[in-house]
């Protein structure tokens, strides 16, 4: 899932303070699961802002609603009525949802309430970890299912570097060395031969370096 966290409240206040009414729009997708921008968090943020402006004696109204996803046109279009009633939208979706709302509502400010962090997994209650760098050409079949692109701090494709110490990365003792994980995993899969293969330079044009990407699935297009 996409993992995000709420921006500091002062930053959000600065974005919305010039408005008198906003729609706080939650998203029922990834940000609900990572407890950053679902129904609960959107309502909590709306109350927080109302309390702040109540204290400042400034008129400030909120409408709060949450749609299934802010990255699909049918859901985004379904809030047209609410959007029309307010000065601006504060989206608690990831950066994708914020942009998609903005694209669909020209002439209306759509502000990001979250900082979108990474594509990751829920490691334990309240803890998420980065797992995929969205490189566009997955090589997990060569590394036993551990991603060197995002889990190695240097994105080495032929690791480890000389800084790997007792299973930890030299960047921080909090970070597992990805290449130690790859070694352990390949060993347990009886496939250590894979680690001896030299990986050629990765084709980064498949990643962000080739500009914004698109995926087209012809068979579902009408």
């Amino acid at each position: 899932m996409i993992v995000a966290e709420r921006k500091p409240i002062e930053e959000i206040i600065k974005m919305v303070e010039k408005h008198e009414s906003i729609l706080v729009l939650g998203c029922g997708g990834c940000v609900t699961v990572c407890l950053a921008g679902g129904e609960k968090e959107a309502e909590q943020l709306a109350t927080t802002l109302r309390l702040y402006f109540q204290k400042e004696n400034k008129p400030f109204k909120t409408i709060t609603t949450t749609i299934t996803r802010q990255c699909d046109p049918e859901y985004v279009k379904s809030v047209a009525e609410e959007v029309a009633k307010v000065d601006a939208v504060l989206s608690t979706a990831c950066g994708v949802g914020v942009q998609f709302m903005a694209e669909n509502y020209p002439g209306k400010w759509v502000y990001p309430a979250l900082n979108t962090k990474f594509a990751g997994a829920n490691l334990e209650l309240g803890v998420w970890g980065e797992r995929c760098g969205l490189c566009g050409e997955c090589i997990l079949h060569l590394t036993g299912g551990v991603c060197p692109v995002i889990r190695c701090s240097k994105s080495l494709l032929n690791g480890p570097c000389g800084g790997s110490q007792n299973g930890k990365c030299e960047v921080s003792s909090e970070i597992d060395c990805a290449w130690q994980l790859i070694y352990d995993r390949l060993k347990s899969l009886n496939s250590l031969d894979l680690i001896l293969k030299i990986q050629p330079p990765k084709d980064w044009s498949k990643a962000r370096d080739g500009g914004p990407r698109k995926v087209v699935k012809e068979e579902v297009r009408l």
Partner: protein, 119 residues
């Protein structure tokens, strides 16, 4: 006018204590509003903030202590949410209201009296 106080209480741990309190002929003042929750772990940060928004100057959550929570971790969850709500009030500089959590052993009338005396 006395500050409006809202008490969210666990219907297992502190309900019993309030019940005992009435046997001591202690009655609650009119400014104190009592709301039962099946477990204080069901409380959300937003419920606490909305209580403040609706004019309560003190919002108390009365749950159990660490070991006697009927739902094991309900009181701990409530405590965490109270801490988060307090943090939010501090972040927005809202000092006209306070939110607090108290852990009470079921039947601990003396502690309950002490808490009521502070409000």
């Amino acid at each position: 006018m006395a500050a409006k106080v809202l008490i969210y209480q666990c219907s297992y741990c502190s309900y019993l204590t309030f019940d005992l309190l009435s046997q001591y002929k202690v009655s609650l003042q009119d400014n104190i509003f009592l709301t039962d929750l099946p477990c204080t772990g069901t409380i959300s940060v937003n419920m606490l903030l909305e209580a403040v928004e609706n004019g309560f100057e003190k919002v108390l959550v009365l749950g159990g202590t660490g070991n006697d929570c009927r739902f094991l971790k309900g009181s701990q969850r409530a405590q965490k949410r109270v801490e988060e709500a307090v943090k939010i009030l501090r972040e927005i500089g809202y000092d006209k209201a306070s939110i607090a959590f108290y852990g009470l052993k079921p039947g601990d009338v003396d502690s309950l009296k002490n808490i009521l005396n502070t409000i």
